[in-house]
């Protein structure tokens, strides 16, 4: 009896291989790789250094925000304000630097703005019980309007004394010719992955998404964690905004418009579950990559750009469909 009990308790439910095979992220990654292979063969333009450089750089902004969004989604929430927060943070950076302040001051102001907005969202949700959808929908409108107020709805393209530094941060390629935004994305993804797997904070994020009431009863500081998660989400939008400003070399009040939907699509394609409790950092990147590869390939294959939305929407539905099929099988 003791031996069988020992063996039963010591047994692993599934091996490493089966758990990889059953993850949505893995299959989306396969889809991305297959799409890339197909495009390399079908077109001469896809596998060129220039195009690859463009793709990697283009998807980083969505991917960086998707990392923050993934944390929010794991807790069972949603943040619709990220596109507008990106715009506002870019604009704060631009306006402050344009006024002659150094880049350090500009970045501090921008990051501070992000943290205040995220903190506001989080407090309203965690302490006052607002539905995340409502409060971040309000913030979507507020943040973009504030960006217009801050800039008087003009385009800012001169960033004062540190103009060149800012452009180098966003547009340069300091390491083996890899675009800087890609490097930031990789570092942030590793950091997010580490936090989710190895820290108490990460464990609590999952616990809140799994059963918020249980987390409260067992002494998890649910409210504090929720506020932090929305601050991280806004911060990721702010950081993406700062990098994007350096890359574009100009800020308008319509950057990041509609981006929240792309970001959420990326997180969901990568395996995050909008019901909460499930999601990974690598999934956020892979989901963002799939979206960008689809977009890029449509252009290269000469398909009318109006079809983009159909393909990206289809990919979102398809990715979740696989997950649904799997859970139907499990329940039977």
């Amino acid at each position: 009896m003791a031996i069988t009990l020992d063996r039963a308790i010591g047994q692993r439910q599934q091996s490493w291989v089966t758990s990889v095979l059953s993850s949505q992220t893995f299959w989306v990654l396969i889809a991305v790789i297959l799409a890339c292979l197909f495009l390399s063969v079908a077109t001469d333009t896809f596998a060129t250094p220039k195009n690859l450089y463009n793709i990697t750089r283009n998807f980083t902004f969505v991917a960086i925000i998707a990392l923050g969004m993934t944390l929010v989604i794991i807790t069972g929430g949603i943040d619709l304000s990220v596109g507008s927060v990106l715009c506002l943070c870019s604009m704060v950076l631009a306006v402050v630097m344009h006024a002659g302040y150094s880049i350090e001051v500009g970045i501090a102001a921008s990051v501070g703005t992000a943290l205040v907005i995220g903190g506001f969202n989080g407090v309203m949700i965690a302490y006052l019980g607002f539905p995340p959808f409502v409060i971040t929908l309000g913030m979507l409108s507020i943040a973009r309007s504030l960006a217009m107020v801050a800039s008087n709805n003009t385009v800012v393209f001169q960033f004062g004394p540190d103009h060149d530094t800012l452009l180098a941060i966003g547009g340069g390629a300091w390491f083996f010719g890899i675009a800087n935004p890609v490097l930031y994305m990789i570092v942030l993804a590793l950091l997010t992955g580490f936090v989710l797997r190895w820290t108490k904070f990460g464990r609590y994020v999952f616990a809140i998404g799994g059963n918020e009431h249980a987390a409260t009863l067992t002494g998890v500081p649910v409210r504090r964690i929720k506020v932090t998660v929305y601050m991280i989400s806004a911060l990721s939008a702010g950081v993406a905004g700062i990098i994007q400003t350096g890359w574009l070399g100009a800020v308008t009040t319509n950057i990041g418009a509609g981006m929240e939907l792309q970001v959420i699509a990326a997180a969901v394609i990568g395996g995050a579950n909008l019901a909460g409790g499930v999601g990974t950092a690598s999934g956020a990147l892979i989901g963002a990559a799939l979206i960008e590869v689809i977009r890029n390939s449509l252009g290269l294959l000469g398909i009318n750009a109006f079809w983009q939305g159909t393909f990206i929407g289809g990919a979102t539905v398809l990715a979740v469909l696989f997950d649904r099929i799997r859970s139907f099988r499990q329940s039977e």
Binding site: L5, D6, A8, I9, G10, Q11, R12, Q13, R197, W198, T199, K200, R203, F206, A207, G209, G210, N211, H213, A214, A215, L217, T218, G219, V220, G277, V278
Partner: protein
Amino acid sequence: MAVLELANVSKHFGAIQAVNDVSLSLQAGEVVGLMGDNGAGKSTLVKMIAGNYRPSHGTMRMNGAELVMHRPIEARQHGIEIVYQDLALCDNLTAAANVFLGRELRRGLGPMRILDYKSMYRRAGEIFKELKSETRPRDLVKQMSGGQRQAVAIARTMLSEAKIVLMDEPTAAISVRQVAEVLNLIRHLRDRGIAVVLISHRMPDVFDVADRVIVMRRGRKVADKAIAASSPEEVTGLITGAIEQV
């Protein structure tokens, strides 16, 4: 000395007297069945012991020292553990993660301390073994049977040196075979010298496992006697009010 002593404890919410002048004591290694109809005040009573509510009147003493709690989490620090009716489990986490929820083991130094998966899996495995439950620490709770879920919730109470375990309807929603499993888990806690308070509507369970039964009706304690000296008929009478008091 009694582990826990309540002296003339009352609790009212506005004009509603939920618990009225209740005194009782719990001994180490004793299972007490707490019975009563809905609204009889048993869950309010237990919530005071669990630190959710503060008594309006009366005192609680633990090992002779006065017990005042402001938040549920303080109960745990005093060695009072609660198994909630819904078990308070996160389906998306592993059994070990649930056992350690809120008090994760970590290793490393200073701010760079990371979760110690290995120790948590090992310790959780030891507890399941002690509970004689075939529950694997690495399994997701989502895929577990009712009995295994109970084992996970009860394993939580065994992490620290608990003195009192409060169980809210642990056998309400599970199969017959699993009920036997849970009653065994309760005996296990008792054998470790823990005082167990079992809130239940199920007469057979209480008479099977409890040493003593306390019956509440309309906020008052109407009976407190050894199981051996009582009978299901008497307890039913006390719950409904057919028997006034014993």
